[in-house]
């Protein structure tokens, strides 16, 4: 069996969640790696959109920011940001939003704003960008995040983007009509919301991972589905394409 890192398993499992005809709003960082891996493997027709307004972009290297020239040069077209948000995102044109975050809770609400008290932060994070609007306006949300006690927390320091809020029908009660987070892909497992409680529940564990490891890296008592699957390990091709993508990205990002 080919050797691989937990982070590679996470990106590959996340990539597999995308289909060829999906239209996906892509967050920078981990989501961007997963979405482009999907495009370079099983989903060449997937439409990737970044919030800088680049529609159906096909970057050869991963962007450092949403506004990289690479995204614009390889896009079908590029629209202004206000148009992106008003007519494309809030117009309900985008099926999936792919997000990451610094902190997540069991209802998949996300914090990308601040660690510690808002007025006296321990760490000031980059902020939400378009994530709050993506989280409510895309048909559904996929989240990719490596697990750890500091990131998978019982209570967020700040709610930047809502997921299933306080569970049950609390999201719908706020007047939000979209599905919210339907998949959470980590370096250890895959979670989906329980149909009733909406708590993110383990539905698949990556090969070689056990329940104790998942619990040790989560700040709340983890729920497991009645039947938990095993995530198929990366194929040699998935690993090769992902590693090539990262290698040429690193070369491009080191250039002065």
């Amino acid at each position: 069996m080919t050797d691989y890192k937990p982070n590679e398993m996470m990106t590959i499992a996340a990539a597999r969640a995308l289909k060829n005809d999906d239209i996906c709003f892509v967050g920078i960082g981990q989501p961007s790696a997963a979405c482009n891996l999907a495009r370079l493997t099983h989903a060449p027709g997937v439409t990737l959109i970044y919030e800088s307004g680049t529609l159906a972009t096909k970057p050869n290297v991963l962007p450092l920011s949403i506004g990289d020239g690479e995204l614009c040069e390889t896009a079908l077209t590029t629209v202004p940001v206000p148009e992106m948000f008003r007519y494309w995102l809030q117009g309900g044109r985008i099926k999936i939003g792919f997000l990451g975050g610094a902190q997540i809770d069991k209802y998949a609400n996300l914090n990308t704003t601040v660690v510690g008290p808002y007025d006296k932060p321990k760490v000031r994070l980059p902020g939400g960008g378009g994530a709050p609007e993506i989280a409510t306006s895309c048909g559904e949300i996929f989240i990719i995040m490596a697990q750890g006690k500091r990131s998978f927390v019982d209570k967020l320091d700040f709610v930047t983007s809502i997921g299933h809020v306080t569970g049950g029908d609390s999201r719908a009660k706020l007047g939000v009509k979209t599905k919210g987070p339907t998949k959470l892909i980590t370096d250890l497992a895959m979670f989906e919301p329980d149909p009733q409680s909406k708590e993110m529940t383990v539905v698949s564990m990556h090969a070689g991972i056990n329940r104790e490891q998942i619990q040790e890296n989560t700040g709340w008592k983890v729920a497991f589905a009645a039947k938990v699957a095993e995530t198929p390990p990366p194929t040699p091709r998935e690993l090769e394409v992902l590693r090539d993508l990262h290698a040429r990205t690193n070369r491009a990002h080191e250039a002065a």
């Binding site: 680049t54 040069e73 002065a256």
Partner: protein, 125 residues
């Protein structure tokens, strides 16, 4: 204050590539300054739907080649990715930010930047 590719002598400004909220920022502002890579006699051949800020919406235009540094200007030069990443650590603490500003901006002349920008642009071509 925004940066764009070029303006003509009347002050009409052409923007190409990732537009962001540049046009909206100028239209929302009471006063604006647009720095451009070059001032030209004519904006040249362009799409019928090219993004142009008419001169009467723009306060001032200044020719500042390399003005997008360390980022890129579509069609002129690429971003300096290595410095773009380095900026994270420079800007993380106020002291390191102020020290960098003193050495590279406050104690330097616009001519020094122009020399740097020319070099950077030539390297990209």
């Amino acid at each position: 204050m925004i940066h764009a590719q070029r303006a003509d002598r009347a002050g009409n400004v052409l923007i190409e590539g990732v537009l962001g909220v540049q046009k909206e920022a100028v239209l929302a502002a009471k006063r604006s300054v647009v720095t451009v890579e070059e001032i030209v006699d004519d904006l040249g051949e362009r799409s019928l739907n090219a993004v142009v800020l008419p001169h009467w919406t723009v306060g001032y235009v200044a020719e500042v080649p390399g003005g997008a540094f360390p980022s890129f200007a579509q069609g002129y030069y690429k971003r300096n990715n290595a410095f773009y990443k380095e900026w994270d650590s420079i800007a993380k603490e106020r002291d390191s930010f102020l020290a960098w500003m003193k050495t590279n901006v406050l104690e330097k002349s616009p001519e020094a930047f122009a020399r740097y920008a020319r070099k950077h642009r030539a390297a990209a071509e």
